[in-house]
Symmetry: none
Subunit: 228 residues, 4 copies
DNA sequence: AATGAATGAGTGTTCATTCAT
DNA sequence: CATGAATGAACACTCATTCAT
């Protein structure tokens, strides 16, 4: 099953065709959702027959995986690029939040797909994708912790802060309010980033007793069926 | 299809059977997701045959609708009960946030289902459910606006505030971090409520120029395919 | 897979439909062989849709199993009936040979199918069928050994004798010479039975040194991929 | 289809490649059976691509034909060699039986394949193979008849005798009892040959009235779908 | 002559829904 | 009102064969 190999030899062709296919699959999955979409439709959308498609993808599940994996990679890379540009710990946190929110804003449809369809992936592929997601959480968690360690951010609970930082931006995709009619996307991004940054720097919370074991688990990541 | 009516005359029987069915459907959908679940399984779980089941539900879609509708009703009612108990405008906002977060905490599985499977509903039923959801947003929006109007909350953007207030608690379900290992559910609820309340009362944001048209659209709600 | 249950409650209906299906499957498999036959064709031949067919059979493999199992049961029963009628040990051997040969003669097409398609059964079902076949070999083996023990048959090698007794009659099906043109079926049956009986009673062989371990393994039965 | 020609001009290359292919196809067909085997697997086993393979074989069916044809040729040649070494009519019969049985013993897997898969050949190729098989039966038939004519063998039914002589050895392949555990292959070959020779020389049968038309059809061979 | 990518018809199986009893 | 057998449209996936390079 999972050990089935792609039989095409020409690696550059594999790259090209997979890009075509992933693009088509993304369109079709967004349109109809994973289960209602048929492989034939995806083939048609990619301009190739089902047979050809199966030369470049292992299964329908694999198609979904390729689509979602590309997305997760993108925001992972966006965050890496963002922190590379900053050295100040607090600015790095803000840069992280902004970079992530910007990707979410640009790719709302795909983020929605991610939240809606991760659970449709078969065990193995879901695990693989979640592993990547958790890596991302940990990367973000480290940035937050560093800022906390240097005292430039006051949140007593880096774990919770990381969760919010990586969750709230998804509101853009999951609520999908009609930004064009409401206000500039740029503004919404700023609001979200501000909102998160304030949360991270909270002095009110700081005065509360921090919950047991919080520090030691600061970068612990979500487990279970929930998305990203 | 959609105009097909429930033929059973005895209304109290319809109530009872639908309760059975909704309960069973909820269990099965949570377990397997909408598409992978079969009507037969739901029938089995409800202790009745497929034939009988179709006397009380129009379609598999309808089953999902009944499940999700019940959930939305629940948190709508929870919020109504919460505001009924409070008269102070600011406390009403906090009570709303807490009531909603508590329902999300209690019914994490169903909230997850809501986010994952609304898009599986056929157009008509999805619209019907979203209409109810939007009602809820508007109820919350009014409470927020009242507090803003009375000056007890400083957010310049009631619409955005409402969105966050009704979105962030879903993190509990969508991230599903292992609360038992991490901390008390009660604490997480407090953190979320605090986080949201701080956001609503933000003075930093208040100093920014508020975006055009904000007030007039303050309770405008999301449209389209987005969840909940 | 194999644990999938037949969901139809009415047992007499199950009996009837399965009989219909097995009869149809037999016809179609004989005509085209197992793999080239389609479940659709079998459904048509049985006068029902594919959907209905799958209410009474677990899989295409199961269909083949049902066909072959019925055949093996038949000759098993034929032999049991034959020995029940005889008490004289030597006559019981001859009765066994004749009964088996007669079934083979009557059901040449199915015997051919058995030899050609057992290997098409999936592991589990093939094992199940071979287990039944081996039971049959052991039944026959015991009859031969009894005759040898009482000295009324002289073969020094009951195992080999049993193999021949249960194999040679298959010639009727596997060679399928046109009996009608050549001679009476009845005559061919007699020749085969005579041939086998002479073999069992061989004095030439008796004079040879019998191979090591022969007695102890006299009823040992064939193993491996070979048919029946 | 069937009139499609091999386009390669270099005859010695065709010979070499076909040998490679037949060897590979034999291995794969033995392992998995005709239908479950894929042309790709055979290509892989032969160390060439599917495209190349189709330069030397007309179709998958043709592959099976080449495999089985080679087998039939082998035992035909084995028997020709055996009779060439003997002049005494009775000894020639025994030599024939032994030569054939030895080939069957050496190539059990292929004999099994022959019995199981002849029916998978398309009409034309099956006929072609059966024609060759029937030639073989007639060769053997002539040897038997000659011995009968010279009175050194007493069977009154040369046709039946020929059938048994060419069928019983297949028991080695079709029953495939575990010879290593049971006894020496050499012994089994002797038993089978003895068994057959006794049958041919039967005096009991000789005393019966021989069936009508027997002599005139003595070498008539099986027609139709039956194997080998 | 060899390659290997493309094809598309075909397969077993599932399942929401209906309806006669 | 309950039952459960029947239906048939889909669907993911495979594979023998072709043919441009």
């Amino acid at each position: 099953m999972s050990d089935k190999a792609i039989r095409i030899k020409d690696q550059s062709l594999v790259q090209a065709r997979q890009a075509q296919i992933v693009e088509a699959a993304r369109r079709v999955f967004r349109e109809k959702g994973f289960h209602p979409a048929t492989v034939r439709e995806i083939g048609d959308a990619a301009g190739m027959t089902q047979g050809t498609l199966y030369n470049y993808a292992r299964s329908k599940d694999d198609l979904l995986f390729l689509v979602l994996d590309e997305l997760v990679r993108e925001y992972q890379e966006a965050v890496e690029a963002a922190i590379a540009r900053e050295t100040d710990p607090k600015k790095r946190v803000r840069a992280t939040a902004r970079a992530f929110t910007e990707v979410v804003a640009q790719r709302q449809d795909d983020i929605l797909l991610l939240y809606q369809e991760v659970h449709s992936l078969e065990r193995g592929l879901r695990r693989k994708l979640l592993a990547r997601t958790h890596e991302f959480f940990e990367d973000v968690g480290r940035i937050v912790e560093q800022a906390v360690a240097e005292g430039v951010i006051l949140t007593p609970n880096a774990y919770f802060a990381t969760q919010v930082l990586t969750f709230l931006p998804a509101m853009l995709a999951l609520r999908r309010w009609d930004i064009r009619n409401y206000c500039q996307t740029k503004d919404v991004i700023e609001w979200i980033v501000d909102f998160v940054m304030r949360g991270l720097d909270d002095r009110t919370v700081a005065r509360r007793a921090s919950p047991r074991r919080v520090r030691s688990r600061a970068t612990k990541v979500a487990r279970g069926r929930g998305a990203s």
